[in-house]
Symmetry: C2
Subunit: 351 residues, 2 copies
Amino acid sequence: MPPPRKFVSAREVAERAGVSRSAVSRAFTPGASVSEDTRRRVLEAATALGYHVNHLARGLSLKESGIVCLVGSELGTPYRASLVKAMTQAAQDAGKVAMVINTDRSDESVSAALRQALHYRADASIILSGMPDKSITRLCLENGQRIVLINRDDDQDGPLRINLRDGEAARCALTAFLRAGCRRLAFANSEAGTPSLMARERGFLAAAAAIGLPVTVERFGPSVYESGRELARRLLTARVRPDAVFCATDLIACGFLDAARHEFGLAVPEDLCVTGFDDIEQASWSSYSLTTFAQPVAEIAREAFAWLRLAPEEAARRPAAVELEARMVWRRTVRGRPPAARAAARAAVEA
Amino acid sequence: MPPPRKFVSAREVAERAGVSRSAVSRAFTPGASVSEDTRRRVLEAATALGYHVNHLARGLSLKESGIVCLVGSELGTPYRASLVKAMTQAAQDAGKVAMVINTDRSDESVSAALRQALHYRADASIILSGMPDKSITRLCLENGQRIVLINRDDDQDGPLRINLRDGEAARCALTAFLRAGCRRLAFANSEAGTPSLMARERGFLAAAAAIGLPVTVERFGPSVYESGRELARRLLTARVRPDAVFCATDLIACGFLDAARHEFGLAVPEDLCVTGFDDIEQASWSSYSLTTFAQPVAEIAREAFAWLRLAPEEAARRPAAVELEARMVWRRTVRGRPPAARAAARAAVEA
DNA sequence: TTGTAAGCGTTATCAG
DNA sequence: CTGATAACGCTTACAA
């Protein structure tokens, strides 16, 4: 059953190069002291034999496996896929390699994934969705495994928490709606109830409440396109039809937009203003031209790996949470202009 | 620099459980002979201590690491992302774990990825894009690493090759166009020149040639949405405007559709019939309702892992290539009805 | 700079 | 069923 495999090992390389095993090891270790001559001889023998350092064995001696675990659900979804791509790329750039583990919505499956990370002695785990059990998190931490939580809004410390300022984005959306003359506000959310989704909802409600405006909130299904359509059906047949809706994600917004236009014959942004969140690629497609808030995916990946690169004590000394801005991307589903464009227009008039 | 990590090892578990190290090992080995009593004692001690079998070490003794490498480029793209998702899931279902490696378009980067797979003693590598160097492929094979090539259309054997019947799909598209009354055919392709893209193009041209119809082919840029828009601009301003275009991928088709409608004011399918390829999720969104051909992603993953599950000699005995059908998905960018619907309609009339 | 030897955590073999 | 012991392939003091 176990397939017969015969990898060439350092010993064979050593023999062929006429040196000792350690010399071979050193030849492949960046800062080691080897004479240029032996290094060359070793490298020659190695390529001739097709030798590749066994990272499994190396991870055994060293205390680093070079593996970073990416765990999350709905990895086929545009936003998640872009995150996976950015993370795997960042891992490679950091000289590591990413192991990706799919989870379903259950927190149990997240714990199972973390257990897998432990099995492979991953140097770190990056969690894109769900919440691991406290106990398994502690176990990882105790074993020297670093943990990064993306948009998880957790309060335990030890892990690095990277979050977006969802509330600020919500306020921003509200301002844009107001300036567009909208007053009948709605928030279209899924029933997933993840921290960031809820933060957006709360932020929007709070901002509206601050100026005494009510918000109709509707929640339905998972965070997918179809839910957006259904949410549109519910919201747009209500007795008082909203004239501005903040969709919790772009996927929802796309579905909402399609239903609003094709099923209700509404013109956006004339009859209705809409914003999304994430800035997935499709948001920029001309059928949508969705005004939305960008997940700073590259920046998230950069922050995560910058922290991972730090020595453990150093990392422990740093604040364990970083907050990033979700920049508003103005396109064409909200009437009016972005502040910058307004400033430019004003300048033009004055000139 | 190397972070101080102290994982609990089998020895500590053994001590606590009052058994030998080998007993611990056996307790975690499915078919091993251990008394129910010791197994329970071991398991208890293990959970109490937070012990997790070290798969790095296990991979060292066994000749299997349990790692499957997924290598490909543009992993954030809808089709690729769905493939990654399906593959990582299939890996987990098969009791393995997926390591994903990003490549750019260069074949050199694919070889580098394969080298990485070698480093980690991956049991198999699944290649989603690009072509590895023959020599590195041979090296992997010699080292007992199985290789699966997805839509790569290669002729070397050793790897399992999973391909779609692109030509058949192309013929299918042509038939649909013809039945819709279209005669001015075009093929919109990217400049990527990947095997499957070219196979679709060749297939379409061949089918058209067989009945004496010319096809305008235009190629531009990478296989992305924007390229589709540009291809539309080129094709739709031509002296004789096509009335049917086969886009090499759905992404291209979406761009093409958007430009055709929003920039040229064309009605689809009335003025123009369009088909895509892949059946990405967006193809089903109502702004597109794209008639297309589905990549049988789940089936591809299933085939890949079914083959990987086979013992090496068994796998060697099997045909090393499997061809899958890209089923046509009828939506609304081609006039007319699918064969099944026509048959049903005929039956209704007769009744 | 180089080689020798010990150790990393498993599993497989072989006695008992 | 159980326990010692020898690999597995690497890194890294330690000594030369």
